[in-house]
């Protein structure tokens, strides 16, 4: 470990990354397994002379974020699955009002109250908009604590750049686990000018930020403008990692904690002579369809290990377009597959294809 690395949990590292990214205001509400993040912010934000509120609900928290965002400030909230469902109201408004904000989901088992163990069952919610209306949110799926840091920092920049909310989708294991991290490489924050912000109509015309457009033609204009923004994000912000795909006959597609376990399974499979490669989506929206489409030209089949009963697999199938079989494996309910279970799935699939 280098001198500039410190050991931190994912939750705390996300908090510190937000502070390094210049977050002006953080609003949170208790829910396991993300409480360390709110607790961390409760003292760090005050130390930095910034705003911290423990709100009365997730609804209030995300709307306080909205208030800070209309003011042109960098704002963040965090929660876990059931709390994120409540925040979807505010996220839809943030998207419609073209407001930047960062929302962290430390995903736990669901549906309903579920449990407090790690899961990836909020993938659809994170990548399909989540709330009502025709919108998307930038969605990152980190797989290490260091990547949590880097993606939170990036999320603030991209959210400002495109004026759209960004979601960090990390499972409860990433939130809880400790790993060495560094913040040294992060530049001091440099948010863009925000002439649209509501700061009082001094020396200029009044401004308003809204999402009500009673005239269908005007609302259609907003919808089309948002779609153009999403196209730009799809062109510029797709991120993924590729491992040993050059000679691969089998392609695993996995993100977050599932990708970590898959890497070990891949190594063991290669020891047995099964040529397995891995594509790890880092941005879950925009999704890395292209590398998967290319892999479909060469591999025998795809295996998608997820801590859900199959959500991201739909994106893999969209990319593969029926050219190769796409299989799912994984545990749910807060369970995490071990490398042997994924290796067994690889072997089983090899026999089928």
């Amino acid at each position: 470990m280098s001198a500039n690395q410190i050991l931190m949990s994912g939750n705390e590292a996300i908090g510190e990354a937000a502070i390094r990214a210049g977050v002006d205001a953080y609003f949170g509400y208790p829910i396991t397994p993300q409480n360390e993040l709110t607790a961390y912010m409760s003292h760090r934000m005050l130390e930095e002379g910034r705003v911290f509120i423990q709100s009365e609900s997730e609804l209030a928290a995300v709307n306080m974020v909205l208030g800070a965002a209309v003011s042109g400030k960098r704002a963040m909230t965090s929660s876990s699955s059931p709390g994120i469902s409540l925040k979807q109201e505010g996220i839809s408004y943030l998207a419609a009002m073209e407001l930047p904000a960062v929302i962290v989901n430390i995903v736990r088992g669901g549906p309903g109250l579920g449990n407090i163990a790690p899961a990836q069952s909020d993938y659809w919610q994170g990548t399909r908009g989540g709330g009502h209306g025709d919108y998307r949110t930038i969605c990152f799926g980190p797989s290490t604590v260091q990547e949590c840091v880097d993606l939170v920092y990036l999320a603030f920049d991209l959210s400002d750049k495109y004026r759209t909310p960004a979601v960090i989708l990390a499972d409860g294991r990433l939130g809880q686990m400790m790993e060495p991290v560094t913040f040294d490489h992060l530049e001091p924050p440099n948010p863009p000018e925000k002439p649209w912000a509501l700061t009082g109509a001094k020396g200029r015309e009044q401004q308003s930020i809204k999402s009500l457009f009673l005239d269908p033609d005007v609302l259609e204009e907003l919808n089309v403008r948002l779609a153009r923004t999403y196209e730009k994000i799809e062109q510029n912000e797709v991120r993924w990692e590729t491992l040993q795909m050059d000679d691969a006959e089998v392609c695993i597609v996995a993100y977050g904690t599932s990708a970590r376990v898959s890497k070990e399974a891949m190594k063991r499979a290669r020891d047995e002579g099964i040529k397995v490669g891995l594509i790890r989506p880092i941005s879950l929206w925009p999704y890395p369809y292209e590398p998967i489409r290319q892999a479909a030209e060469t591999v025998r089949f795809f295996l998608v290990p997820e801590m859900s009963l199959g959500q991201m697999i739909e994106d893999v199938r969209l990319a593969v377009e029926g050219k190769r079989p796409v299989y799912h494996t994984g545990r749910v309910g807060g369970n995490v597959s071990n490398p042997k279970e994924i290796l067994d799935a690889i072997r089983d699939c090899c026999e089928k294809v």
């Binding site: 609003f27 209030a60 974020v65 909205l66 800070a68 009002m97 009044q206 308003s208």
Partner: protein, 259 residues
């Protein structure tokens, strides 16, 4: 409708002067609605206190959502009932600005009950202007939390029944016991004298915030002739004779130290 010129002449004759904080826009409100008067009172108060250029309002979901068309100030929308949370976010990151939320009875006392209670309890240094006309206007006249017992609405066709629908909520009295609330007053716009009194309350609420004294809320008893199914004249009479019995006007709480 009189031409603009004719209207101006008539305004001049009666000594009318439009407050600068009120835009030229013609409001969309129904004849006899109370919002126009209250919008104007707030605009006059902002002009008199010289705070127009540093005031940011949060509009609710309800008839007055289009407030940004009528006030010459920065305005944000908010999801239904979350107005005090949005106002909290704005005020906390811009403490030097004046922030007010403008809410109706459905927005504030039904779906936004948690937000208003906790904004008051935190003692957020904001003003809330609460328009109580005992009915949901924008959605077509349904029962509000403030709807009177026996009042007929779209969703209480036989009149509000305590057993079935519960009771009217007195918001000022609800917030009174919270240590965080500083200034709570209920006013009516049922007569010229009361309109003047209502303006004094608005001024006091703004001053409370300017002095950093914390949370203030002014509740305006206002007419909704359309969904009360009354003439504008009868609506005023209804406020003065019926509403004030259930929602007694007056200063409910005053820890401002002002006169």
């Amino acid at each position: 409708m009189p031409s603009e010129t004719a209207a101006k002449k008539s305004d001049k004759r009666r000594g009318y002067r439009r407050p600068y904080a009120l835009t030229e826009a013609v409001t969309h409100y129904c004849p006899g609605c109370g919002h126009g008067i209250i919008h104007r009172l707030l605009a006059e108060a902002m002009d008199e206190l010289g705070i127009r250029e540093k005031t940011i309002a949060v509009a609710p979901v309800g008839c007055s959502v289009l407030g940004y068309d009528y006030w010459r100030i920065d305005v944000s929308e908010a999801p239904h009932g979350r107005t005090p949370a949005v106002a909290t976010g704005i005020k906390r990151v811009q403490p030097d600005k004046i922030v007010f939320s403008y809410q109706g009875d459905g927005d504030l006392a039904a779906i936004g009950t948690a937000e208003i209670v906790h904004a008051a309890n935190r003692g957020e240094n904001i003003c809330v202007f609460f328009v109580n006309n005992t009915v949901y206007g924008m959605t077509g006249g349904q029962m509000a939390p403030t709807t009177l017992l026996a009042q007929k609405t779209q969703t209480t066709p036989g009149g509000r029944d305590q057993v079935v629908h519960g009771n009217p909520i007195r918001v000022c009295e609800l917030l009174e016991n919270l240590d965080g609330s500083t200034y709570l007053e209920r006013v009516t716009i049922g007569s010229p004298a009361n309109v003047r009194k209502a303006k004094r309350a608005a001024l006091k609420a703004f001053r409370t915030q300017m002095d950093g004294k914390g949370f203030s809320l002014v509740e305006f008893l206002a007419p909704c002739p359309t969904y009360w199914r009354m003439s504008a004249r009868d609506s005023i009479k209804h406020i003065n004779e019926v509403l004030v019995e259930v929602f007694p006007p007056g200063v409910i709480k005053d820890n401002t130290g002002q006169e």
